[in-house]
């Protein structure tokens, strides 16, 4: 939950700092640890410090108020509250430890064995878990109390057994995950015994989660143990926080202050344990995030935007990458004049982007700009290609036009005018009657862009009813026609199907049907064929071209593929590192590219290699 603490430029040191050292940097964690340390000291030395016998009462002291003799007063049997509190700390902490250690021992051993060897142990333990889950812990403890008597220790032993699945699940999951890793095989081949493998490789993975779990479980044990004692089910001879509460509650009207001390002891201990567990979890999660992020930054090498946007959508802020981006080519954009073909489009403007800047981050100081002031005109009825490598800012530009930038992203400067309406302020009012009606969107990955919980038909009908105000019947009719139009063989069946019941190609046709359903003037298609099979790609591109001709829509086609551009587009804009480097009619750019980056993009195709591979390496494509 804390803000920035580790700059990714020195990540090696970060990964090596132990969790404990980093806990010391968190004030909350330090406070929790100091409290628990004091508590441990009191638990060990408590009975020695106690001024009186915790169980010896005097009649004249019954419910005595705090005084010099009894700093915290005396309880209903005339026993010194301070002495009892000190003695109770020892018993309560020891009882919680007993439950935790019991659960830990059983859970870890069973988890290791079941995860590593599988077989019958696996089903026995899963049965035990569902048995334990069938009853509230306190009911089991009460039943156990019926036969075992009032001993705190026996109760905590039973509770430890009940809690053991918490560790079991943790260890089991970790072992199952690690079991088939190559390095475990390697260890086995090199002759390490099973017990050495378990100890070395597996326990090291689960150590930190186990410590977190232990803090949580110790808290639960303290809560339930004090609950039992509070119910009056404990051993009267043993002073505990819960027993003190029980006595205090019985005298709540005569001496309300009696409740304060045991209640404080229980609450503060539980809160300290929770806060410690939370801090450790934060640190662990952060470590994983930093590692992942580092890997991305390294593989993208040139400081491309993919790394920046991805790391931003994941977590914190790192402005250092900004410098790298700024250094890169400041060469002005090359603009080719209209040729015969593009002149036919006229020079009207449907969408005019001017000086658009998009940045990510919280607040000005730590924000990272990913689109650096780009300008573009899209004419009515043209197919305009937006080309560039992964992370060049194409998708960010597209999202900015649609007003759907991910969390943390915002337009910091420039304007986006669609047919006379300014959209750059991103307000829902500005987009009303435009987004989803006159501007539509075809996404890249068909499967993840359909809501898995709703039938395909509903996902087509709902927007039609909302945006065009159609009746349910009319919208259904229209959706079915659209499904037929985009080449779906059995529209009725697809209409009733859930997204996971159709193929990727079909899903993409559904999304295209959705996009054209409101007869938009502009479609923004973000790599609409990248996720599809090669054979399906051609069909989908044909479909988009056919629909575009049929309806005279303009299309902003985001792609990394010059083949697609050559095939489909009227004009094209090349983007690199958040800037437009070259723009013009498609033929002119293909024949005489002037910017070195455009040349290298085209060269990559001419060399016969895949355009992506040659330029960006193996990084996945988040744009």
């Amino acid at each position: 939950m804390t803000a920035v603490d580790v700059p990714p430029t020195v990540p090696v040191a970060v990964a090596k700092v132990s969790i404990f050292r980093r806990l010391l940097r968190k004030p909350v964690a330090v406070a929790a640890m100091v409290f628990l340390l004091v508590l441990a000291v009191v638990a060990i030395l408590g009975p020695l410090l106690a001024p009186y016998d915790p169980n010896g009462g005097a009649i004249q002291d019954i419910l005595a108020p705090p005084s010099a003799d009894h700093p915290l007063g005396a309880d209903s049997s005339g026993r010194d509250v301070l002495s009892r509190l000190l003695a109770a700390t020892q018993v309560s902490i020891a009882a919680a430890l007993l439950a935790t250690v019991t659960a830990l021992t059983i859970g870890v051993i069973a988890g290791l064995l079941a995860g590593y060897y599988r077989g019958w142990l696996d089903s026995v333990t899963s049965w035990f878990t569902s048995l334990v889950m069938a009853l509230p812990g306190i009911v089991v403890l009460l039943a156990a109390r019926t036969i075992l008597g009032p001993s705190v220790w026996l109760a905590m032993l039973v509770f430890g057994i009940i809690l053991s699945p918490a560790y079991f699940r943790l260890v089991y999951a970790a072992v199952s995950g690690v079991r088939n890793e190559l390095y475990i095989d390697a260890a086995r081949v090199s002759g390490l015994s099973d017990s050495r493998i378990i100890g070395r490789h597996i326990l090291s993975v689960v150590r930190a989660p186990i410590i977190i779990q232990s803090a949580i479980i110790a808290g639960i044990a303290i809560a339930i143990q004090s609950g039992l004692e509070f119910l009056g089910l404990g051993d009267l001879a043993v002073p505990t926080w819960g027993a003190m509460l029980n006595d205090a509650f019985a005298n709540i009207y005569q001496a309300p202050m009696l409740m304060l001390w045991p209640a404080l002891a229980i609450s503060l201990t539980c809160i300290a344990l929770t806060l410690l567990a939370n801090s450790m979890r934060d640190i662990l999660e952060r470590t994983v995030a930093v590692r992942r992020r580092r890997r991305r930054v390294v593989t993208t090498g040139t400081g491309s935007i993919a790394a920046v946007t991805t790391s931003f959508s994941m977590s914190g802020a790192d402005a250092n990458l900004l410098d790298e981006v700024e250094e890169l080519s400041e060469q002005p954009e090359v603009i080719h004049p209209d040729d015969e073909a593009s002149a036919r489009l006229g020079d009207g403007s449907l969408l005019r982007i001017q000086g658009l800047r998009v940045a990510y981050g919280q607040g000005r100081a730590s924000s990272v700009e990913v689109v650096h002031g780009v300008s573009l005109d899209i004419r009515p009825g043209e197919i305009h290609g937006l080309v560039g490598e992964s992370g060049s800012g194409k998708t960010q530009t597209a999202f900015a036009v649609l007003g759907v930038l991910p969390r943390g992203g915002e337009i910091t400067a420039g304007s986006i005018v669609f047919d006379g309406t300014e959209l750059a302020d991103g307000s829902p009012q500005a987009y009303r009657g435009i987004r989803g009606t006159r501007i539509a969107y075809i996404p890249q990955e068909p499967m993840s862009n359909l809501d898995p919980s709703f039938r395909i038909g509903f996902q087509l009908v709902q927007p039609l009813r909302k945006t065009l105000g159609l009746s349910k019947k009319a919208a259904t009719q229209k959706a079915l026609e659209l499904l037929a139009r985009v080449g779906i063989p059995d529209p009725e069946r697809t209409f009733r199907a859930y997204p996971f019941e159709v193929s990727g190609g079909m899903a993409q046709r559904v999304l295209i049907a959705g996009a054209v359903s409101t007869e938009p003037d502009l479609i923004i298609a973000d790599e609409p064929t990248t996720a599809l099979d090669v054979t399906v790609q051609a069909e989908v591109l044909d479909l988009i071209r056919d629909l575009q001709r049929e309806r005279g829509m303009a299309v902003l086609l985001v792609t990394h593929n010059f083949g697609v551009v050559a095939d489909l587009c009227d004009r094209v804009t090349v983007m690199q590192h958040g800037r437009f480097v070259e723009t013009g009619p498609v033929r002119s750019i293909l024949r005489s590219p002037e910017h070195p980056y455009t040349r290298s993009l085209l060269g990559a195709i001419l060399d016969g290699g895949p355009a992506r591979g040659a330029l960006v390496g193996s990084e996945g494509n988040p744009s």
Binding site: L142, A223, I224, G436, P463, Y498
Partner: protein, 313 residues
């Protein structure tokens, strides 16, 4: 769907059989010792044997269990060893008290958690901070302590509610509300803490999904997207957490009832536990297990209704 229900029901029955067998074994295996414990150390061996025979503890263990099971299936859970009351009657008289605070707590927790969780996920800022603080407090402080705090503040100092006692809903609705309000609040706080976090996480996760963006580009407003699509997809994980929480609430109610002197299952169990009234304890164990199995079934069905993948596989 029918097959799905039957499968879950069968699983529940098997689980109940297992729970009853384990509990019965643990509670009754003592045989003669049980009679000795009931009569005290000074009783002669003869009297102990007589008592054991009277309670049927001298018969073979398997027979005792089959007998109990046969009765339980027909709704006969035996009689208390101390009051000779029918256990079934005792439990069913007290169940409404416990269930009214447990169900009340579930409803309150569901409403508050969804509201807070969604707002914290969408708005962030100070509200998110408030949710984090509530989570730590609700998660870590035992609910009976929260109950004690509520009693001290609202019943004793402010006098807004009666500190103890129960008014059946049939007697007076306002009286009932007044008698269950504090218990419900005390009971639900821990659940609110956990479920709010879960809802917040699920909503943040669902909001970052591609389909949410696509729905926005189709011209749907944030309201529809959040309430129809995001909440439905976030609902599954949240329900799963609520299922686990319900078991905790049932256990929590047992302790909370003592604070407010509510005549529910908790009071019955605590009495029976102290006395060693085994048939009553056994009756409570199996009743609780039945409730848990039924609730899990209901939540499974709700999951299936929310998520077509569960329903169709």
């Amino acid at each position: 769907m029918g097959f799905f229900i039957v499968k879950r029901l069968l699983g529940g029955v098997v689980l109940l059989l297992a729970v009853s067998l384990v509990a019965f074994t643990m509670l009754y295996i003592g045989g003669g010792d049980i009679a000795r414990r009931l009569l005290g150390e000074n009783a002669t061996a003869e009297v102990v044997a007589q008592k054991a025979a009277e309670l049927g503890l001298d018969r073979p263990f398997v027979l005792q269990y089959v007998d109990w099971l046969g009765g339980a299936v027909t709704g006969d859970l035996g009689r208390s060893w101390f009051t000779s009351q029918s256990v079934f009657v005792d439990v069913s008289n007290r169940l409404p008290v416990t269930l009214s605070i447990v169900i009340g707590a579930v409803l309150l927790a569901a409403i508050v958690s969804i509201t807070l969780g969604v707002l914290a996920a969408l708005r962030g800022g100070w509200l998110d901070g408030v949710v984090q603080v509530i989570s730590v407090i609700g998660f870590s402080i035992p609910n009976f302590l929260i109950a004690l705090g509520l009693v001290v503040v609202f019943a004793i100092n402010l006098g807004w509610f009666k500190a103890t006692g129960y008014v059946p809903i049939g007697t007076s609705f306002e009286g009932w509300i007044a008698s269950v309000t504090l218990p419900i609040i005390a009971l639900s706080l821990a659940t609110i803490a956990t479920v709010t976090q879960q809802v917040r996480g699920s909503v943040i996760d669902a909001m970052s999904r591609d389909y949410v963006r696509t729905l926005q580009t189709r011209g749907l407003g944030t309201g529809i997207v959040v309430f129809q699509h995001v909440l439905r997809n976030a609902g599954g994980p949240a329900l799963a957490v609520l299922a686990v929480q319900f078991i905790g609430l049932l256990g929590g109610a047992i302790v909370i009832e003592q604070v407010f002197a509510l005549p529910g299952i908790g009071q019955l169990t605590v009495q029976a536990t102290t006395l060693g009234d085994v048939p009553v304890v056994m009756g409570v164990v199996i009743t609780t297990a039945i409730i848990v199995v039924l609730v899990n079934l209901a939540i499974d069905l709700a999951q299936a209704a929310l998520n077509p993948k569960v329903r169709l596989s």
